[in-house]
Amino acid sequence: MHMRHLLLATAAVAGLAGAAQAENVLKWGANRDIGSLDPYSYGDSFTINVLNHVYEGLVRYNKDLKIEPALAESWEILDDQVTWRFKLRQGVTFHNGNPFTADDVVASLTRVSDEASPLKGNLPAYVSSEVVDDYTVDITLNGTYPLLLNDLTNIHIFDKEWMTEHDALKPTDIGAGVEGYATYNANGTGPFIVESRQPDAKTVFVKNADWWDTPQHNLDGFELLPVNSAATRVAALLSGEISFTNDAPVQDLPRLEAAPNVSVLEGVDLRTVMIGFPFRDKLTTGADNPFSDVKVREALYKAIDLDLIHKKVMRGKSRIAGATVAPPIPGYAPELDELPGFDPEAAKALLAEAGVPEDLAFEFSCISDGLVNEEQFCQAIASMWSRVGLAPKLDVAPRAVQSPKRTNGKTDVYVLGWATLPMLDAYSPLLQIFHTKEGNAGVFNWGGWSFPELDKLIDAAGSELDLDKRLALETEALGIVKKEHIMLPLHQQPMAWAVTDAVTDMPLFPDNKPRLWFAKVNPGS
């Protein structure tokens, strides 16, 4: 404890001294703080995103979200089809000066797949890894699996010596009451170094002058300044106390656009918003469940005026979706995006045909702190369904309350947003949502459906190493999802970042993750 405060104090003094010089420092006002400095301690994609500036993976996403080499230079699949051999980049050092070698990779993979690691699900196919020589690593999987590289983009590499020295080889374990050195300290290979951290106030990152890659940014560093309250964040941007935010509140966008010193960066998120149905025998009300009939699901889809939601609730900023994945996601095909067409009369006819009783009551579960304007579009949809003779009961509550109800089947119809992160591939929703619930598959199959024909396609895609063949299988599977209306896609939600005129270049990524190693600021800001 004592040591840490000394370090912090020194860092604070160093920070004061540094502030006197004109430096290119970007001030990132985020909507919350990172949980800790350990990316493996809590399954939080924002923490992993921020710490990606410090830690790197064997591979990474480039500016177009395509996978490219990072700490690994090349890779091949060995003849047994389940072992992947990675050739590592030479001459890379960690922030503490230690060289990066194969040992570090094995120790990191072991750490993230430890029993106590909340992130072990991020490496679903991993079995073991082995050092071949200093710069070669073999990773063995539990079968042929095409998406290892996608998974590895989010597995940060730690320094083995540093972990050994500080007793941090294992992840922290709350159950056993174990704290970890890596919770308070960071030592990666990435473009930025953590200089100091005050939780909920400020984390200071400085440029890593010895980074192995040629920097495309011109930053001397950046500060992560969490500002939880949206109104305060907007005010801080207007007053120039922060120069960038990755969460500009939708309702304040006109105000920000009108300000002379602020620009808003708007885009469409990869996250597809969909409605899911129960396939159990009974509804939560005890009545017979009609939703396992595809006609009923189709009727509910036709009863929703997607255009109206797009225009009124999402203020024209969303992208209406017919497919369950966004266009940039591999596996997407334009024919999947065909829209159902708003037709309440046809919906009523379908409901009558399926024998759905008049004023059928069911629970409609939405999350108050979830998707963009979720509460509002849920209300709109509930009233659209009422108009075709149903009686949805809207149940809105925070995520922490709704999640357990959903996983335990204590809800009927629900809304789910899926961005295919961290995989960025259609295999992600196919495996996690649409597959029958068994083993690793169908964790988010909350409705409890099972389509054996679909499962077969997904399983085939999950072990097909040829990219084109795999994507064809995925597209075919998504076609079944669409035909059966397993879930009803509504839209891809809007995302908005904002920068002040201190920032000259800030590429907007559709996965809503800032990557400041591509950012540029005005000199001296």
Binding site: S36, Y42, G121, A201, N228, R399, A400, V443
Partner: protein, 330 residues
């Protein structure tokens, strides 16, 4: 006296146990921390395993007993989200909240007492009426609105003061203070004003009421008759006799301020205990929520018990009352 002290201590302990029990009953409705901890790709069995390891499958009584047993030894466990010892987390945040509350309290006295005297002495004057009206606004405006208005005015429009954060801090031992740096002091101004708004009006109204009472007392009339200057009579003789209830109230309100600081802390991103608690609620971080509730209620109970004991010590009648009441029952 010893019997009285023991009784008060037993009362305090009972209140703490009740708070802990209530907290545990409420946590069941906060949701499931495991769903917040794991990532999208965790399997159902991973989730079940984690739930088991955290002891969330145990019954309410088992969880409660375990919590109280550990809490008595000062061990509140490890935060789910921050992966840190909860006591350390709270110890880190306490100075921020305490400095904010301290400055807000000083502000409420420095501003509230003179205003109270002025409105009492010049009652029915235009100034006094305006102040009275202002105090109603002060009481009725929610503190987050005051906070946002202050930020808009002084941070966005005028650019004089920072709108969020705590500025640079200096560590003295484990205590981090913002009072010793210019940016730390500047950052403190708006949140302190926002937090003290309600308190200022409270002090002002209390002082006014007490002053009106006191100014009618005989000794004030005598002092006037003896030719003591009016200002001296009002600000010294009268005011002094009004301060006892003000001090009591301020002491008891410190607990309130610490608890309600969480609104101010959220608006100003003040890295104190309230901020920690709000985030713990979002992430169902049960150890942090439990520890926060226990510590805040401990501060409340301790302050109240102290005030009671002081009163009993100052005024023996209170002790006698208890003794007599006990006797009558027996």
């Amino acid at each position: 006296m010893i019997a009285f002290l023991l009784k008060r201590a037993a009362n305090a302990a009972f209140v703490m146990l009740a708070v802990a029990l209530l907290a545990f009953v409420i946590f069941r409705f906060f949701g499931d921390p495991v769903e917040m901890m794991v990532n999208e790709q965790a399997t159902q069995s991973d989730r079940a395993e984690l739930r088991e390891r955290l002891g969330l499958n145990d019954g309410l009584v088992t969880q409660y007993t375990r919590f109280v047993t550990n809490a008595v030894q000062g061990d509140f466990g490890i935060s789910y989200r921050n992966q840190q010892d909860v006591m350390v987390l709270i110890k880190e945040r306490f100075p921020a909240t305490f400095e904010l509350v301290l400055v807000a309290t000083v502000l409420s006295l420095v501003v509230g007492i003179p205003l109270g005297v002025i409105t009492a002495v010049h009652r029915n004057s235009r100034l006094a009426n305006a102040l009275q009206l202002g105090s109603i606004v002060g009481v009725s405006l929610p503190s987050f609105v005051v906070g946002i208005l202050l930020i808009l005015g002084f941070s966005v429009s005028l650019g004089w003061l920072p709108g969020f954060g705590r500025g640079e801090t200096v560590d003295i031992g484990w205590w981090s203070t913002g009072l010793l740096t210019p940016s730390g002091r500047a950052a403190l101004i708006l949140p302190a004003i926002s937090l003290s708004t309600f308190q200022v009006t409270l002090v002002m109204r209390l002082v006014r009421a007490e002053m009106l009472e006191t100014l009618r007392a005989d000794y004030i009339k005598f002092a006037r008759a003896r030719g003591v200057p009016t200002a001296r009579v009002q600000w010294r003789h009268a005011l002094r006799n009004c301060l006892m209830p003000v001090i009591t109230l301020t002491g008891m309100q410190i607990g309130n301020l610490i608890a309600f600081a969480l609104v101010t802390e959220t608006v100003f991103q003040w890295p104190g205990m309230g901020m920690l608690f709000i985030q713990a609620v979002t992430f169902v971080d049960i150890p942090v929520m439990a520890a926060y509730l226990m510590i805040v209620s401990f501060i409340f109970v301790a302050l109240n018990t102290l005030v009671d004991i002081t009163y009993a010590w100052v005024d023996p009648r209170l002790r006698d009352d208890t003794a007599r009441a006990g006797g009558a029952n027996g």
